[in-house]
Amino acid sequence: MFFTWDLLVQLVTSFITSIAFAIMFRTNRRHLVSIGICGTLTFAVYYTVLFFSSSLFAAGFISSMVTALYAELFARLKRAPTIVFVLTGIVPTVPGGSLYRGMRDLLLKNVNGAIDNFTATLEVGSGIAGGIVTVSIIFSIIVDRLKTKNQSISK
């Protein structure tokens, strides 16, 4: 089933935890609400992709691409560095759960479970990093193009 009560709880808590992280990172107060929305959106995309494709890498990759796009947009709207929205927006998808389960399995000498969980951690982590990098590279190319265009016009 796509919609469950757990999903609702997760959407609400992803909003809260993103804002809490933003405060812990001492973000300017005027960004807090947009950061909360960014966290919820990221988790919603992550959940949807995971539900339909059941690939952790794809979920991490696509959700962090959405985060990075949101960050590029809001960085320009609010005149802040993109890192403000990226760092706090990806918080709900950071694979802390599988990292913990891997550690616990290692402690219980359940090596197969540990390998599964650590692999899942790496899969999501590399997906998230890959998504952010992809968007930031595409944006830097676009911005460079626009700048050179403007210069050639003014000349």
């Binding site: 809260i16 812990m24 973000t27 890192i83 760092l87 918080v91 550690m103 219980l108 930031s136």
Partner: protein, 262 residues
């Protein structure tokens, strides 16, 4: 650009300019800025003041830069950065300041005054930071499927982790802080199960691991690597892996104290 021969008295301007540019760069690095941003900012500021050559190299704990002005004056300086944290507000303001300065290029004294004015702004008060930390841990306990009792214990742990972060002696390195926080989280979660407040410590521990986990550090590390800052990226990756190892170490220590896996 033609560069005149170097004389001693003109060096002072280059020294002062590079020192101020490095102040901005150092502030960014200390408050969680990316390596590429730091290098880019120092380069832009020096170029805006008319530098002929500017070379910057930075890793997570060190910046070195050299500038040469068209009049032949020359300066090279180093900065060693010992502590890093994440303060996005300061980062944002430094970014805005560097943009403004590149656009308007005020006198160096004015530039200096602007940097020092900015350092005085206070961060969030301590009780807000503690509340945020406990909201994060409690929120994650619910997020991963815990019930309300799990969330309450998790919030307590979040407050304790924040206390450890704020009140530990400043010489204590971040690895030791991570071990202590992870140890305390495991012990408190385990004890709450022993007392019988809740049946499963998993969600509480996952919640507290989420705010200790170097997931963000790992993300920025991979990003630096993929963007071509190989040295800084590999150092950050090492730092993130060590952080994860320290969480595991604290967890194992806590489990050992309670006797067996929690």
């Amino acid at each position: 650009m033609e560069i005149k021969p170097r004389t001693a008295d003109t060096d002072i301007y280059a020294e002062y300019l590079l020192c101020l540019a490095l102040d901005v760069g150092e502030g960014m690095l200390k408050n969680g800025g990316e390596i590429s941003r730091v290098e880019d900012t120092i380069e832009r500021i020096c170029k805006a003041y008319g530098a002929a050559h500017i070379e910057v190299f930075s890793i997570i704990s060190f910046i070195s830069a050299a500038v040469r002005m068209p009049d032949g004056s020359y300066s090279s300086q180093l900065r060693r950065i010992k502590s890093t944290g994440t303060n996005l507000n300061t980062l944002e303001r430094l970014n805005a300041l560097s943009r403004e300065i590149c656009k308007t290029t005020p006198s160096l004294e004015e530039f200096d005054r602007k940097i020092h004015e900015m350092k005085k702004t206070p961060p969030y008060p301590i009780y807000v930071r503690i509340a945020a930390s406990s909201a994060a841990v409690g929120g994650f306990a619910l997020f991963f499927g815990g019930n309300v009792f799990d969330a309450i214990i998790a919030m307590l742990i979040g407050a304790i982790i924040c206390f450890v972060d704020i009140y530990s002696p400043s010489k204590l390195n971040s690895m030791a802080k991570t071990v202590i926080s992870s140890f305390l989280a495991t012990v408190i979660a385990g004890l709450s199960v022993r007392i019988g407040i809740n049946s499963n410590p998993d969600f509480i521990i996952i919640g507290s691991i989420m705010i200790l986990v170097p997931g963000l550090a790992f993300g920025t590390a991979l990003r630096d690597l993929l963007c071509g800052d190989l040295l800084a990226g590999s150092l950050k990756t090492l730092q993130a892996c060590l952080g994860a190892l320290m969480i595991a170490f604290g967890y194992m220590l806590g489990s050992a104290v309670l006797g067996g896996a929690v």
